[in-house]
């Protein structure tokens, strides 16, 4: 089934999933509330957004220069950089490295890029046991599901779901429901695996060009364990994560934490600048940074939409999006969900994901909360424009006809009156929302509007000139 049909089918099912909506409503409201309080801590939130926008615009405009600067600085300390043009190249590099170094166990912290390139299934298929160590990711991995949300992967689950899952998969007694006990069980399992793993894979929240550092933001400490304990550390990230200067973090760390979870800063922020140095007692023997393009370079060359690459993956646009709340993260059928997913995915995976831009009421809530001021809903409009000539011929013809109809006042008036009369007649014959109802796409979910015999302009004309009620008005009144 094609992606658009699949989306429609899933949306139809999930849109009426009341228990899911209850969970989402509560969880999304919690994040929105926290983020609201967090924004108030800023002296001027909008000035911070504008500043962040300017920094990212500069970074993306000079992507090549800053990435090379990052590479130079990191490799000077013994880090290695691999430029992956495609998802397959990124996957193959990591897989080959793991094989070469006889890696049998991998621990992973959260990385949406690893989802994008389908890294874990590839490692598992090669016989390399791969464990997600972010608690939410761990939960969805045990459930054999993709992350539901780019920041909070298990947002769709209640505590009871997790208890049942841990009972089934970890052998925990069925009675254990307390969050502390559940976390402790996951932690015990993870610690064992942290110590055994030969390779740790993390993502990156920011790549710092002038310092050659990888910045990793987290709340659980699992990312720094993944980066520090195994003998090989692999960073897998997209090229757009670049920031020009170390001091930019003074803005971006609090910005990301605030927009995402409402925290002032997240619990852990690590700056990683290479493998273990000669005078150091711990840290990995090797550090590899895989920089993924996968469509990003092309997007960076598009002056209209390249600010999509400003995204710092905070999840704010998902948290406020009524579409996300209705179809859920899994409904999108993409790695990146919500508004950012709808605008980014067609650039990464092609026009077969153009339908996501259509599945929006264009309410603009996403744009209003984006901490780096991405023009999210204008991009939805542009993506609709870009896909308009690939739409069903009937839709194209309808809008051409509409353009013709509205291109002349008299024509619009005449055909409008006939149309209303015809629709009223059809409505008198066909039961609402039946197959014969011409308004079925509307009446399937709503009562039909009562079509007035008299349009505004009929009324206006009659009122201005009550004596000479023209033919049109008289006809309208009798129809």
């Amino acid at each position: 089934m094609n992606a658009a049909r699949q989306f429609e089918q899933d949306a139809r099912r999930i849109a009426v999933d009341v228990p899911l909506h209850q969970v989402l409503k509560k969880n999304l409201a919690t994040y929105q509330h926290a983020a609201g309080l967090g924004r108030e801590r800023f002296a001027d939130w909008n000035a911070a957004r504008a500043q962040a926008h300017a920094v990212k615009a500069e970074a993306i405009a000079h992507l090549d220069r800053y990435l090379l600067e990052f590479e130079r600085n990191l490799t000077a300390r013994g880090g290695r950089v691999f430029w992956a043009e495609t998802a397959a190249e990124a996957r193959d590099y990591i897989l080959a490295l793991a094989r070469r170094r006889q890696v049998r166990q991998v621990v992973k912290s959260k990385s949406m890029v690893s989802e994008e390139v389908h890294l874990t299934p590839a490692l598992e298929a090669a016989g390399i046991a791969t464990l997600e160590t972010d608690l939410g990711e761990y939960i969805v991995q045990l459930r054999n599901e993709p992350p539901f949300h780019i920041v909070t992967p298990a947002m769709h689950l209640r505590r009871e779901h997790v208890a049942a899952l841990f009972h089934e998969k970890l052998g925990l007694p069925e009675s254990v429901h307390e969050p502390e006990a559940l976390v402790a069980a996951a932690r015990a399992e993870m610690r064992r695996r942290f110590l055994a793993a030969e390779m740790g894979i993390t993502g990156a929240n920011f790549l710092i060009a002038d310092a050659g550092l990888v910045a990793v933001t987290e709340n659980e400490g699992n990312a720094r364990l993944s980066a520090a304990l195994p003998r090989i550390h692999v960073v897998l990230t997209g090229i757009e994560k670049i920031l020009p200067r170390l001091r930019d973090l003074a803005l971006f760390w609090p910005l990301l934490a605030t927009a995402g979870t409402g925290q002032a800063v997240t619990c852990y922020n690590s700056l990683i600048g290479g493998p273990r140095q000669e005078n150091e007692s711990d840290g990995p023997e090797e550090m590899h940074v895989v920089l993924l393009d996968n469509g990003r370079g092309e997007l960076a060359a598009d002056p209209e939409q390249r600010d999509i690459l400003h995204c710092i993956r905070c999840g704010a646009c998902l948290n406020i999006c009524p579409i996300f709340e209705t179809v859920g993260g899994h409904g999108y059928g993409t790695t990146y969900q919500g508004p950012i997913g709808a605008v980014l995915t067609p650039h990464l995976r092609g026009p077969r994901f153009a339908h996501l831009a259509q599945a929006s009421s264009l309410c603009g809530a996403c744009t209003s909360v984006c901490p780096v001021e991405i023009d999210l809903h204008p991009h939805l409009l542009q993506l609709r424009r870009d896909s308009s000539r690939r739409r069903p011929w009937r839709e194209q013809a309808a809008f051409r006809a509409f353009g013709w109809l509205a291109g002349d006042g008299k024509r619009f008036e005449k055909l409008g009156r006939r149309g209303r009369r015809w629709l009223r007649y059809a409505q008198s014959l066909a039961a609402p929302s039946s197959r014969l109802d011409p308004l079925r796409p509307w009446t399937r979910y709503r009562a039909a509007p009562e079509l007035p015999p008299e349009s505004f302009r009929d009324w206006w004309r009659k009122r201005k000139n009550p004596a000479a009620t023209n033919d049109a008005g008289a006809k309208a009144a009798h129809s």
Binding site: A15, L381, Y445, R446
Partner: protein, 247 residues
């Protein structure tokens, strides 16, 4: 008093003329001089929002021509005012001449409540409406035109009206133009959530700066029990104690 050129959106003209009529009554009561260019049809938003910019462009240019000499344009729709004011320039592309024309077109266009409160500095229009009312913030009026307080200020001055805030009043109702029929299941789920909040607030009426939201919510309300009814902002403001809502 001000001379106003009426911008009546196509769907108001054809499907909800009473929204435009109510606006006319309020403006006339305030002493405004009104004109209605009868050549006007549609601003092009349906085509633009659906991605058919080539079809929308001539309609935008046409709109700009028709309203070129108007001093002040007022519309009973935040969405259509937004289209002209904020989205028209998107249609110009690299055509600098058209861009100038379209940008100029937008500068004199106001949504109804915006015009009353920000331009005329009027909040009390002498209306009477003894009901519990919740305001639904229409997306374009709220986020594109920044109208949050303006309609509420008008409502607060209405005799007998009890203004109630329903939960998530800023959340989209799910209309979204073609979206409402293209992804009806999502649109309806969003509408359901809105209606649940309104029912919980215990209001008699839901009002808005956009009749199109009310067309959708009204359609959904029409299919279920409950007492919440949709009413466009100007329809409330047009009502007076002596029953002066009639033409």
């Amino acid at each position: 008093m001000a001379k106003i050129t009426l911008f009546i959106p196509c769907f108001v003209d054809q499907i909800m003329p009473r929204a435009g009529q109510a606006m006319v009554r309020v403006l006339e009561r305030l002493g405004c001089e009104l004109e209605f260019p009868e050549e006007q049809t549609c601003c092009g938003q349906p085509a633009f929002n659906s991605g058919f910019w080539d079809e929308a462009r001539p309609l935008a240019a046409r709109w700009a021509r028709i309203f070129a000499r108007a001093e002040t344009v007022v519309a009973p729709s935040g969405s259509c005012a937004t289209m002209v004011r904020h989205f028209y320039p998107h249609l110009a592309g690299s055509d600098a001449g058209l861009r100038r024309e379209l940008e100029a077109a937008g500068t004199r266009v106001y949504e109804f409540s915006e015009f009353l409160v920000r331009q005329l500095h009027i909040e009390d229009v002498g209306a009477y409406f003894p009901h519990r009312v919740a305001m639904h913030d229409a997306c374009h009026a709220l986020r594109e035109l920044g109208l949050k307080d303006e309609p509420r200020r008008l409502l607060r001055q209405v005799r007998g009206l009890e203004l109630t805030e329903a939960e998530d009043c800023e959340r989209c109702c799910g209309f979204g133009g073609a979206f409402a029929v293209k992804y009806g299941m999502i649109s309806a789920a969003m509408g359901e959530r809105k209606i649940a909040a309104l029912s919980q607030a215990g209001v008699d009426y839901v009002t808005s700066t956009d009749p199109s939201c009310l067309l959708h919510l009204g359609g959904m309300l029409g299919r279920q029990p409950g007492r919440v009814r949709p009413i466009y902002l100007a329809e409330i403001l047009a009502q007076t104690q002596d029953g002066g809502a009639a033409a």
